[in-house]
Symmetry: C2
Subunit: 247 residues, 2 copies
């Protein structure tokens, strides 16, 4: 009955001292530039594998001193902050290979909290060491600039004025693409976050998320069972999400 029985099989290699995990945002930094093995070793030296942390673990909290960024090695992470009037704003969900903490560079403190949505392992990169290394590895510096710049664009896209339908469509499509680029199915995936979290991320009430998802199902766009999603009409979804899509 459940159409989501078959789960995608994560390919989470740990790197071998010469290459990074294939899905990591830093994969390719070296090879593209033809760096020698010593530089590569250096990059690996400043990586620290941490975790696994069980679902619900608070990875860092707002105000914590910043000293490292992290790439998700497995699981899913949510970042959020609680504003002055107690409202929760979800800033992002981070999938395999995505980088957490770039927003903390500015003030040298984390501007938000991060929590594991399921069992999470991370690669921790000392940022001071990485910045130093980046002075000797222009490719690494470039990649850091690009990642930072990309996050500006992501945040700006969320800041736009879009309808609930557009936001929801863009959200589903974004997850789909990010899973797809990591070798998972673009059509079927399981989300780890609650409707409330999705709502706080998309700036919608949880009830609105629920209603939009229902309507998308009624209209044949999606097939949803609890937190498992199947995209039935990618084209129409993309069409809806068009105003928000930015890459």
């Amino acid at each position: 009955m459940n159409p989501f029985r078959t789960k995608p099989n994560p390919i989470t290699d740990d790197g071998d001292g010469l290459t990074f995990c294939s899905s990591c945002a830093f994969a390719g930094v070296c090879h593209s530039e033809g760096y020698d093995k010593s530089a590569l070793q250096e990059l690996h030296c400043l990586v620290q594998h941490v975790g696994p942390y069980p679902a619900g673990t608070l990875l860092f909290r707002e105000g914590d001193p910043f000293n490292a960024i992290a790439a998700v090695r497995s699981g899913m992470v949510k970042t959020f902050r609680i504003d002055a009037s107690g409202r929760k704003q979800v800033l992002g969900f981070f999938l395999l290979g995505e980088i957490i903490g770039l927003d903390a560079i500015h003030s040298a403190r984390f501007p938000c909290n991060a929590v594991a949505l399921d069992t999470v392992s991370l690669c921790r990169f000392s940022f001071p060491m990485m910045a130093t290394l980046a002075t000797r590895m222009p490719g690494l510096q470039t990649q850091l600039f690009r990642l930072l710049s990309q996050d500006i664009n992501k945040a700006a896209a969320m800041a736009g004025d879009f309808s609930a339908d557009e936001r929801m469509a863009a959200f589903v499509l974004s997850i789909s693409r990010r899973f797809a680029s990591r070798g998972f199915s673009p059509n079927r995936f399981a989300l780890s976050m609650s409707r409330t979290d999705i709502g706080n991320y998309l700036r919608l009430a949880a009830e609105t998320v629920s209603r939009v998802v229902r309507r998308f199902q009624d209209e044949g766009l999606l097939l949803v069972d609890r937190r498992e999603f199947e995209i039935l009409d990618m084209a129409r979804l993309r069409c809806l999400a068009l105003p928000l899509l930015r890459e």
Copy 2:
């Protein structure tokens, strides 16, 4: 009758080969690190003064190849994009010393348009050259990282779910602070953008901007004459803007 007769007097020095314009985002990069004069000269060598451009000049447009960032030397710049359904989203307003173009690094193309809101002069920095220089000047690299990270936070703040009052209060306060840090009055300033632009930035209809401004006046928070603003009750304004404020 007009309470805004006295205009603030801009202090826009042009640098002298040893120091940068005092309000520029790159001011202090060198001195803080004790670099020698040659490094400083290099930084100055990659700066190109451009403009002045009259109000309405399109400085770059979405899709243009990216090769340089720019600091505002005088005037005010607006960046915006038109989404797939024709809606205009204003991404930011840039004051004296603020850096435009950091969001273009990621894709090597400008993701938005930029237009001069009044007479605008810029300092243009070749980004490839700057990045190269940053490998030899850690202080410059750090500053670039910080500026990029700051922009993530700015964009994320705009992405939150706030009322029209909160957004408007935060907007006025933000302008006030930015003017103040450049030596202008925090209490009186003239905006160069239309209500429509403010609305597109704050994700509000122009009519809503107008109504909120009126109410703020009725409540004694502001004194507004066309595009000239005077803040009468900074404390209450700050209180309103609290949920949005982030630095």
